[in-house]
């Protein structure tokens, strides 16, 4: 064995002959060895207190030795140094017993030679190293457990608490004096008792099984606390042989959760009530409005000969249509929020625009408008047809309403691909808006940016609702007296 460092040996030996022999062996084994020789146990204890040694060689038959208790004292003071017992044949049994106390090895003096001694010392040192590593690891592990704010407890299959960490005790108000060493089932909240017990029984059936549970547990003089705990079956693990409970106090979280749930429930109820109110109000308004429309439809104003009456009836007609439009817009807003199942179809832009232009013939003819379209790179989308129609009608009416009186209205409608998505651009050369004033509010409900009698402030809100209902988005760019461009991005839906 090559050791550069000086090797320190404490040799406790009262027989001079034996001492010389061992000293010879040691000098033969080690290049550089420092031997401290003690004749008596008493001296050895003093030396051990003062100095550190690499190995302690201990003769058992010392004048002042009294068996195991003195060996324990040596072991205690030797700290990290391995202790090897040297023994005569007479006390071999005692030597064997000392192994249990923590002695590294015993050597019978008659059988010792340099080789035997060298082997015993180096094995002892190596073994001791590993023992130290293991014990340090355990210390570290224990300190983690002891300092964790989680509680840890080891519970046997019959419910006996084998170990419990200090925080673990604190969390459940564990008191050794009152506790009989068993997990207190009666402290579980009656609502959770059956669940915890059945979970525990389920876990102990299967090695390696792990379960997470939340339950209420009674804390003496305090009341119930909400605990969250894992139950981990390590009964088969030879190092543990227990169900490991790792638990924490979640009372605060639970209380907040409960409060939040109550709040959510209230909000849902209020929301449902408001929606219902919306439906009832709309219905109650709609019934007379549809009657009005029907009356207007059935009224043949051509048959009225008095001009003033005819003019009034015509005004009554258009007021009824206006009322109906406004109401329908409001209902649409209400319904978009509710409608869960949208009809997705592949729709051609060109066809929808043409259909729209046909429907809006009257409106479109009143102004001189030039419309150009270009859909060749992205001719269609998958979308709800009624929504797309409604979106286009709203965009057309917007452009017409806010056309510039100074020039012919020009509308350009184009589409293009943007990755997977499709973008529809609707551009006009109308009055435009100052984007600084508009920005975030443009798609809001009842936001009006022009002083126009027929501006209701609902169209763009409606468009946005319809676009976003299917995961798309809408943006706007505008310049005063230049025009406005709406860009609608449609998500690529699959049918």
């Amino acid at each position: 064995m090559q050791l550069v460092k000086r090797f320190n040996v404490l040799l406790i030996e009262d027989n001079e002959g034996d001492f010389i022999l061992v000293e010879d062996y040691l000098t033969a084994i080690f290049d550089s060895v420092e031997i401290t020789h003690c004749w008596l146990l008493e001296e050895a204890l003093v030396s051990l207190k003062k100095n550190e040694y690499d190995v302690v060689l201990l003769d058992l038959s010392l004048p002042d030795s009294n068996g195991k208790s003195s060996i324990l004292e040596i072991l205690e003071l030797a700290k990290e140094a391995p202790v090897i017992v040297l023994t005569g044949r007479a006390d071999k049994q005692l030597a064997i017993d000392t192994l249990q106390l923590g002695v590294e090895d015993y050597l019978v003096k008659d059988e010792v030679n340099a080789t035997v001694l060298q082997k015993s010392i180096s094995y002892g040192i190596e073994r001791n190293k590993f023992r130290l590593i293991i014990s340090n690891n355990e210390k570290r592990f224990r300190s983690i457990i002891a300092n964790s704010t989680d509680g840890f407890a080891l519970i046997g299959a019959n419910g006996n608490i084998q170990e419990i960490s200090s925080f673990g005790k604190e969390i459940i108000g564990f008191n050794l004096v009152e506790n009989d060493g068993f997990f207190r089932v009666e402290f579980l909240h009656p609502d959770h008792r059956a669940l915890v017990i059945s979970t525990f029984l389920e876990v102990i059936k299967k090695p390696g099984k792990i379960k997470l549970l939340e339950f209420k547990y009674k804390i003496p003089n305090e009341g119930y606390r909400w605990l969250e705990s894992t139950f981990y079956n390590l009964l088969e693990d030879s190092a543990v042989r227990a169900v490991v409970l790792n638990y924490r106090d979640i009372t605060k979280r639970k209380t907040e959760e409960e409060e939040r749930n109550i709040l959510i429930e209230e909000l849902l109820q209020t929301n449902a009530d408001l929606k219902q109110f919306g439906y009832i109000t709309s219905h109650n308004l709609r019934a007379p409005v549809t009657n009005l429309l029907s009356i207007v439809d059935l009224l043949e104003s051509d048959k009225i000969s008095d001009l003033k009456t005819k003019a009034l009836v015509d005004a009554f007609k258009s007021a009824s249509f206006q009322l109906n439009d406004t109401l329908n817009d409001l209902i649409n807003v209400l319904v978009i929020r509710e409608k869960k199942y949208l009809a997705l179809h592949k729709i051609s832009f060109q066809e929808t625009v043409e259909k729209n232009m046909h429907n809006l013939k009257e409106l479109l003819n009143t102004a001189s408008i030039s419309i150009s379209t270009e859909f060749s790179t992205a001719p269609s989308i998958v979308f709800d047809p009624s929504y797309l129609e409604s979106i286009l009608i709203n965009l057309f009416t917007n452009s017409i309403k806010f056309a510039s009186p100074d020039r012919k209205l020009q509308i350009n409608i184009t589409s293009h691909k943007l990755g997977e998505d499709t973008v529809l651009e609707f551009a006009d050369n109308g009055l435009g808006m100052n984007m600084k004033n508009v920005k975030d509010r443009i798609f809001g409900l009842y936001q009006r940016f022009h002083e126009r009698p027929d501006s209701k402030g609902i169209g763009l809100y409606l468009i946005q609702s319809q676009v976003t209902a299917l995961g798309g988005k809408i943006t706007v760019d505008s310049e005063v007296d230049k025009g406005t461009t709406f860009s609608i991005t449609f998500k690529n839906h699959k049918i």
């Binding site: 439906y279 709309s282 219905h283 709609r286 019934a287 007379p288 549809t290 009657n291 029907s294 009356i295 439809d297 059935l298 209902i331 209400l334 319904v335 509710e338 409608k339 199942y341």
Partner: protein
């Protein structure tokens, strides 16, 4: 026609007359009165020369007994007496759930906005259940 609003009643009748939709109309103001009519028909129909309805126009939002309540009771107790009678919802409801529910109900052949118009009434004539009456 089960309809509580008198103006709608009048308008529906005018439109049906103009479009020659039916030979006769019996009007009741809510589900309860409709049940009464059906009961009466089953007991004394022939004696009192009551007409068996070919089509029931049913409003949904009505006082006393609304359209859905009427429909449930009709299915349980009366449908078997009127195997050839069809039901059409005629309502101004804005709740999409009503339309969805109507489309899933095998007793309901259609859903129309009230009051009837010339267009909608002529459209009804093309429904497969009603078409035979107009050939």
């Amino acid at each position: 026609m089960i309809e509580d609003d008198s103006i709608t009643q009048m308008l529906n009748k005018m439109v049906m007359k103009h479009t020659q939709f039916c030979d006769s109309v019996e009007v009741v103001s809510n589900g309860d009165m409709a049940i009464e009519y059906l009961e009466n028909f089953i007991l004394n129909g022939i004696k009192n020369s009551l007409k068996k309805p070919d089509l029931i126009l049913l409003d949904l939002n009505m006082p006393v007994m609304d359209g859905w309540e009427f429909l449930e009771m009709y299915k349980q107790k009366y449908a078997s007496h009127f195997p050839d009678t069809k039901i059409l919802i005629l309502s101004s409801t804005v709740n999409p759930k009503d339309e969805e529910r109507a489309s899933q109900d095998p007793f309901i052949i259609g859903f129309e906005n009230k009051p009837l118009s010339y267009n909608s009434t002529n459209g009804l004539k093309e429904l497969s259940f009603l078409a035979p009456f107009f050939n």
